[in-house]
Each structure stands twice: as structure tokens, then as C-alpha cells.
């Protein structure tokens, strides 16, 4: 009985940690520019697929991952420079369509370059699952959770302790004021996209041994990440993590105890419920709307 519960919890945390990592990527870009980047999932895809591809060229895994992450960062910066920056005064919904267009474009290129097959990324450390209290935990899950935790701490330090981090936050709060005090806002935005791509691609490589990877893996991961970010409260790093974990745990508990057919429906109902009572998510800021 308890082992069953523990199993559902482990499963939920594994899935949830993935969502949390994607949600964090959304958070960084949202914080810097108030854009919801629907191409976020493609960073995950690039992370996974490029690693597979570089490893296929005989590059050792560790370096393959680094190259893949660099490639994703490059794509992230290019996305900001070439697609987001030229449309700076566009409506929210126009920006949404631009990022959706970008994600379709990136996916289309990936499909031509890397093909349509699913690929395996080897687990970082062995295939042997860990047994705990009658439940089983995939060893790769520990990597997902661990890397997630490290990234969260690193982000907090980055945003509160470093000059660049503070500049990003400053830009998000008031672009004009930031410009007045000498922050190069375009530079900051580029940095935010690069950082978000870094996070996304690291997440992509880390979860790939569990989920496999293919050119179209980004679509649904991004969607779940967006749900997690919105549930936690857009712009809140803590919210992204809590939202992601909560979403994962709810999904697996529903699949375990209620109905696997309706687990996604239950997850979506939960987000509606959260928003009914907390219209800015669990940890969303109470910013005043400008007239």
C-alpha cells in the first residue's frame, strides 16, 4: 500500500522535475521581456537531438553535451535577435504567434537535418534502478532532480548576486529606467534568451535517457512547462519549480489512483482551479496593472 504510494510519488517527482526545468526556461524569458516563448520546447529538443548527433560523430558524451548546449544557446540568441527584437512593439498575441512560428521552423529544420526517428541517449550513470521502500527510482531521475536543484540555486544566485542578473531583473521591471541607468537592454534580452536556451538544452539532455528524443519532442514538453510556469505564477522561479513538481505528482497520482485516461484532464482542471482562486498563480507577483 505504502510502497504503491511511494512509487507514484517517485514517478510524479521524476516527471515533475522535467516540467520544472522547462518552466524555469519560460520564467527567465518572461522575466526579461514578458514574452511567453512557445519555442522553449525546441531548446530541449536541440539539447537531446544534437547530443545524439554529435555522439554519432564519435565525440565523447560529455563534449557532445557541451556542443549541443552551445548550439542551443546560439539558436536562442538568434531567436531573440532575428525574430523577437524586430517585432518589439507587437501585441502579446502577435509575439505568441511569432514564437510558435519559430518553433515550427526549428522543428522543420531539425526534421530535415536529423530525421524523424526516435533516438536513445544513454543514461549518465548506469541503467540500474534504485530500490527504496518497495518502490523503484530510475537513476537518471536523480540526475534530473539534482541538476534541476543546482540550476535553481544557480539562477537565484545569478539574479540576486551578479550585476548581469540584476540588470536582467531591472530591465524586466522598467525598461526605460533600466536604459536611463545605462543598461543595454537589447544585450540583456539576448542574454536572457541565451540563458533560457542553455537551461532548456541542459534539461533536454538530462531527460532524454528517460523520454527518448526526437525532432518533435519539444511540443508537448513546452506545453506542460507553460502549464507549470503559469500554475506557479509567471516570473517566479520558485513558482516554476513548485508548479512543475505539483503537476507531475498530480498526473502520476491520478494515473495511479483515479484514471490513467483522465490524468491530463485532471491536471488541466487543477490549473483552472488554481487560477480561479489565485489569478496570478501560486507565487505570482501582485503587480499593479498600468492604466
Amino acid at each position: 500500500m505504502f510502497s504503491e504510494f511511494l512509487q507514484f510519488l517517485f514517478t510524479g517527482i521524476t516527471i515533475g522535475a522535467t516540467y520544472a526545468l522547462v518552466a524555469l526556461g519560460f520564467t527567465i524569458i518572461y522575466n526579461a521581456s514578458h514574452v511567453i516563448n512557445f519555442a522553449q520546447g525546441e531548446f530541449l529538443m536541440i539539447g537531446g537531438m544534437a547530443t545524439v548527433s554529435f555522439m554519432g560523430m564519435g565525440i565523447p558524451m560529455f563534449f557532445a553535451i557541451i556542443l549541443a548546449v552551445l548550439l542551443a544557446c546560439l539558436v536562442g540568441v538568434a531567436l531573440q535577435r532575428l525574430a523577437i527584437a524586430p517585432a518589439k512593439n507587437a501585441d502579446v498575441v502577435t509575439l505568441i504567434i511569432i514564437t510558435i512560428g519559430a518553433s515550427i521552423f526549428i522543428r522543420g529544420i531539425a526534421q530535415v537535418v536529423w530525421g524523424k526517428d526516435y533516438h536513445v541517449v544513454p543514461p549518465f550513470t548506469g541503467n540500474e534502478p534504485i530500490r527504496l521502500g518497495g518502490a523503484v527510482l530510475n537513476s537518471q531521475s536523480l540526475w534530473v532532480i539534482g541538476i534541476g536543484a543546482v540550476l535553481v540555486v544557480a539562477l537565484i544566485v545569478f539574479f540576486t548576486r551578479t550585476l548581469i542578473g540584476r540588470a536582467i531583473l531591472g530591465t524586466s521591471m522598467n525598461k526605460l529606467a533600466a536604459q536611463l541607468v545605462g543598461i543595454k537592454t537589447q544585450m540583456v534580452l539576448m542574454l536572457a534568451f541565451g540563458l533560457s536556451a542553455l537551461l532548456g538544452s541542459v534539461a533536454g539532455v538530462t531527460v532524454a535517457p528517460i523520454t527518448f528524443t526526437s525532432y518533435d519532442i519539444g511540443i508537448l514538453l513546452a506545453l506542460k512547462g507553460f502549464v507549470a510556469a503559469a500554475m506557479g505564477g509567471l516570473g517566479s522561479g520558485l513558482g516554476a519549480v513548485v508548479g512543475g513538481l505539483l503537476l507531475g505528482i498530480v498526473e502520476s497520482m491520478t494515473a495511479g489512483y483515479i484514471s490513467s485516461e483522465y490524468k491530463d484532464a485532471v491536471a488541466f482542471s487543477m490549473i483552472l482551479l488554481v487560477l480561479f482562486f489565485m489569478p496570478r498563480g501560486l507565487f505570482g507577483g501582485r503587480t499593479v496593472e498600468r492604466v
Binding site: 518572461y30 511567453i36 525574430a83 524586430p86 517585432a87 512593439n89 507587437a90 501585441d91 502579446v92 498575441v93 502577435t94 505568441i96 504567434i97 511569432i98 510558435i100 512560428g101 519559430a102 518553433s103 515550427i104 521552423f105 526549428i106 522543428r107 522543420g108 529544420i109 526534421q111 530535415v112 506545453l223 507553460f226 502549464v227 503559469a230 509567471l234 485516461e261 483522465y262 491530463d264 484532464a265 488541466f268 482542471s269 490549473i271 483552472l272 487560477l275 480561479f276 489569478p279 496570478r280 498563480g281 496593472e289 492604466v291
Partner: protein
Amino acid sequence: MLQRFIDWRMNYVLVLAIIVFVVPLLMDNPFYFDLATQILIIAATVVGLNLLVGYAGQISLGHAGFYGMGAYFSAIATTTYNWPPLLAIVVAAAVVGLIAYVVGRPILRLKGHYLSMATLAVGFIIAIILNNESELTGGPDGMSVVPLSLFGWELSTFGLYSMFGFEIPGHIAWYLVAGVLLLVAVVVAQNIIDSPIGRALRSIHGSEIAARTVGVDTTHYKSLVFVVSAIYASVMGSVFAHFTGFITPAIAGFDYSIVLITMVVLGGMASPMGVILGAVVLKLMPQFLAGFQEYETAIFGFILMATMIFMPKGFYPTAMNALRRKLGRYSGGEA
């Protein structure tokens, strides 16, 4: 005379009517009519969605859910329970409107991305139900739907009808029905826009807080327009189901919601002609790109992205502005 026509708010409806009824004279293949009919149906849907997105400024990423609900309600009522199609369409619209009202009231208090999220969730839940309740809906493999029949005679794309002494094949008859539906949809929408409701909606789009301060009951108007756009989607979903004769839950899915909102934004928000153009372009694009084989996805994404970057207001308003500037310079030169 010309000036009066230019000033007339409904002038574009006449232009649209002419286009709708002249185009068939240029087409000789049933396949083109088939595609054109689908464009008309989807265009009428986005004219409704435009009220919500373009005029009231509220983003919906789940609108296909209502479209799918209308389609499936009609499909099940007529095919499984032998209801007359017209009754099914009306009841479906009423039910979908009611559901939209019930979910709309709480979620329309949300702003920006949170509203997008909530509508996305609603759309997803509807699609999941349609997918899972296979006893009723046939599940992911879809279900077939009986043809539309009005007062006893059946409208099938393969039939042959005589009207006013003319022989009209079914695909043309369907095209004409869909054309009339689009014109009705546009006229109704324009009337809403011109009414006090429309003014209230535009004030919400401008600044919701300002609207509220001057006494506009914003929640009321927002849920009203949400319901209206959901009813548009439901009716056109029903019509689409009867037209194609086979539907799958994909028409209620997230992808399709994105297609709908893209049509609105691509063509030009808050412009009925614009969103119709958006529907035409987006619906024809796969037919054009079919020749590009594996590059199809990448090209589609690129066109979408590039259009929105260089024409953030959409095709139609951008083109119209350019035209107006040209005309203005011309008449300015004369003066």
C-alpha cells in the same frame, strides 16, 4: 455616391459577397469547390473568434474546443440518435453557449497569459473527453456523420440538385450554402461591433481599467463576447461535420486552436476582411507547400514567423495602409 459607399460601414460585405459569388465562375474542378467550402466555413468561425481576440483583446488558445463540441454534438445527435440536423445545430449552439458562459465567467477575470493558459486548459479538457469517450464519439479514429438535410432534402457534395431551372451539382450547392453562412456571420458580427456592446468591447481592449472606471461592466461584456464567439465556433463546427462526413477529435485539439488564432492574427486583428484573408491563406498554404516535401514544415514556420515580424498588424491592414498612403499621396498631389 462613391463617397457614401466608402463611408458605409458595411461596404466590405458587398465586396465580400461579390468575391464569394464570382469566384465559383473561375473554378472548374470539384476539388477547388471542396477546398473553398472549407475555407468559407473556417472563415466564418474566425470572424466569430475575431470578436473576442480582435475587438475585446482577449486571447483564446482553446477555441477549437467549442468548434469540436459543436461538430461532435451534431454528429452524435444526427448520426446516432437520428435528430434532424437543423435542430441538432441549434441545440448544440445553445449547449455550447451555456458551457462557454459557465466557464467564461470565472476565467475571463484572468489577464494576459493567464487567460491564454485557462482557455488552453478548457480546450484540452474538451479534446481529452472527445478522445476518451469512444462509446459516443468513436474515439481517436473518429466517427462518420450523415449529410446535412434541410426540410427533407439532403445536401451531399456528390448529389445533383435542380434549382430555378438550373442543374446544380452538390459541391457547388455546398459552396453557396457556406458562402451565405459566411455573409450572415459577417453581417451579424458587424452589427455587434456597431452596437453599444461593440463600443464597450473596444474600450476593454484599449484599457480595461479605464473602461471599468467609467462604469463599463467589463466582466459582463467579456463573457458575452466569449459566448458569442463560442456559438459561432459551435455552429460552424456542426456545419463542417455535416460537410466532411467524417470527424476526428483533432478538430478540437490544441493544434487546431492555434490554427484558428493564427488566422485571426495573420490576416489582421479587428478586421473582418483581414481574418477572412487569414483563413484563406492558412488553409491554402498546405496545398501549395505539398510540393516541397520534407521542407514543408520549415517553410511554413518561416512564413508564419516572417509575416508576423514584418507585418505585426497582419496582411490586410498592412496592405490597406499601404494602399491608402499611395492614394493619399495621389490625391494630395492633386490638391
